[in-house]
Amino acid sequence: MLDKDLWTRCLRWLEAELSERELSTWLRPLQPVFQPDRLILFAPNRIVQERVRQDHLEQIRGALAHLAPGVPLTIDLMVGVAEVSPAVTPAVSMPADSATDTPLNGERDASLSAYTGKLDPRYTFNSFIEGKSNQQARAASEHVVEAPGMAYNPLFIYGESGLGKTHLMHAVGNRIQQHNPNANIAYLGAEQWLNHMVSAIRHGRQEGFKHYYRSVDALLIDDIHFFAHKERTQEEFFHTFNALIDGRKQIVLTCDRYPKDIDGIDERLKSRFTWGLSVAVEPPELETRVAILMAKADQAHVRLSEDVAFFVAQRIRSNVRELEGALHRLSASARLRGEPITVEFAQATLRDMLAAYDRLVTIDNIKRTVAGYYNIRISDLTSAKRTRSLARPRQVAMALCKELTQHSLPEIGEAFDKDHTTVLHACRKVVQLRDEDPKIREDYDLLQRRLGFG
């Protein structure tokens, strides 16, 4: 009689023949399903399947012959995921990314929806912490779900990574689904769209692909900047976009920058991205960071006092995921050591993380951030050109270096190929401009937040 334990013993046996690296890379991912005279090994994808077939199948056979002598055993190697129950007839579900494989046993065709992701039910408007930095994006998203396809179409949410764009997108999808359980919502990453399109072309299923995406009630695409420089993908998306807008179906897109600033995207597509509403999500300010930490702690059932949340939020300033990482670390250490999370505990536990964070504020990083913000090249910051479109960002960058780092004026000057008097002039000019020009003040404050201050 075969049992599941046999596979575990088989792996132990093979420890004598294979390195742990080989075992864990190729054999441990296999999921066994035993039938009376047959062992089905499910590989997560074709590559693992092929590798095991070529290099390890005979070793597995040999090990099983030793461990279960006299039992005739056929080994089948398939791509798929074995369901939990080791039933006599294994239930098989295809992983999303292997949908291009030949259907198993001829039983199942690759679903058209196999490439789309699932909406995460945890990402709702209720679990979204609002602050000044994201309130406009949240309001626009809530407005969209009241009448999908009617106003703000497309809704274009942009901003740096880890600030809540994906959360809002899921919240939109979840709320639409809640209002209309029959709504056909496609949520996917831009690269998943590309993969699906390539697969459809390869298998001659373009019509099915077009029909699928042009007939959804809402299309939510994350990281649309991934379409840059992929003309064929943009072309297909352009037609889908038009069809959905014409049919008053909602489109929500996220991107790491404002539509007009995406390099490598066709102008007519860029222009369409701005037809609805483009809203920015900025790095959260201190109060929002504290609120986010407290909410995340609540969700994870971690006891976190306000003073600890304040301490962490003051020190970790760039994005929400960093805050989550710090909370996970504190929670793990508190559990392992059986101690409460105090400010001192947080200080000691996050010491390495906070030190690394402090090191991030360098002249190079400031230059990179400022250049990205103004959409100019880093080399423009050190060039001799004195046009206002370059001189102003250069002055802002120099002033930020003076304010946020310990470098002297001559050191900053050297980093910008200028002398120290130019740096001094830039610092004074920026102080004056921040008083007089609200736009400069806003730019400066935002850049400080992006660099982790404020």
Binding site: E15, A16, S19, E20, R21, L23, S24, T25, R28, P29, Q31, A43, P44, N45, R46, I47, V48, V79, G80, V81, P95, A96, D97, S98, G117, K118, D120, R122, E160, S161, G162, T166, G189, E191, Q192, D223, F226, D256, S318, N319, R321, E322, E324, G325, H328, R329, S331, A332, S333, L336, R337, D352, M353, A356, Y357, L360
Partner: protein, 232 residues
């Protein structure tokens, strides 16, 4: 009647486990891995991050993905892992420089986060210092609780050699240990690889671990020191 004891040429591989990991006693990464909880391990090369990941895979039946070994593989290699199976991603800095690969890794992390899948990642650097990776991926990695794995101090290096040798049934004389720690790389990876080499060589040659023998195995003849002090 007693016969002569036969020396069998059987090399027993050392199991990769968390118990045999020599580290500072308060290294919380070990407890985190033992508890089957997600973790991001960072520290210099040779401190044993790979050992920890492999040991965790062995303990919990996880899948191990050494990214630097996957150069040239399509992004599909990341696909399809069951959510209830832990995933260990090693050598993050060696990830293939392909946007498709990074995006696949990013989606996989999202999917695992969504399904509460356990994910372990190891790299020489903390997530925010991985500038080669796209920001989207860096920030997702930053969600994992991170643990620094420091280099071994002198006492721990000594302990690793002695205990590692004992587990293999080898006796390392003091002069060998002293010479080794003075003249050869002392990171955990190098020390363990050296033990593996002398274990195999001693078995093959049926020799005790004398200083000349170990020197001959671990150092090319031209590089071996001529006048090795006997004690210091």
């Amino acid at each position: 009647m007693r016969g002569d004891q036969l020396s069998l040429a059987v090399h027993l591989p050392q199991p990769c486990d968390l118990e045999s990991f020599v580290a500072a006693p308060d290294l919380q990464a070990i407890a985190q891995l033992r508890a089957n909880e997600s973790a991001y391990l960072h520290g210099p090369a040779g401190v044993g991050k790979t050992h920890l990941l492999l040991a965790a895979c062995r303990l919990h039946g996880g899948r191990y993905l050494p990214l630097s070994s996957l150069l040239g593989e399509p992004a599909e290699i990341l696909a399809g892992l069951a959510i209830d199976q832990p995933l260990a991603v090693d050598e993050l800095e060696g990830a293939p420089e392909q946007p498709e690969f990074w995006m696949a890794l990013l989606r996989m992390l999202d999917q695992r986060g969504f399904g509460n899948g356990v994910t372990w990642v190891a790299s020489r650097n903390a997530p925010d210092a991985l500038h080669r990776l796209p920001a989207d991926l860096r920030t997702r990695l930053a969600r994992l609780p991170r643990f620094h794995v420091p280099a071994l101090d002198e006492l721990q290096q000594f302990q690793l050699l002695i205990e590692g040798a004992e587990r293999r049934g080898l006796a390392l004389p003091d002069d060998v240990t002293r010479w080794w720690l003075r003249h050869l790389p002392r990171d955990a990876g190098s020390l363990l690889a050296g033990l593996e080499r002398i274990d195999r060589a001693a078995l093959k040659a049926r020799r005790r671990l004398t200083l000349p023998f170990v020197q001959a195995v671990l150092m090319p003849p031209a590089a071996a020191p001529q006048d090795e002090p006997q004690d210091d």
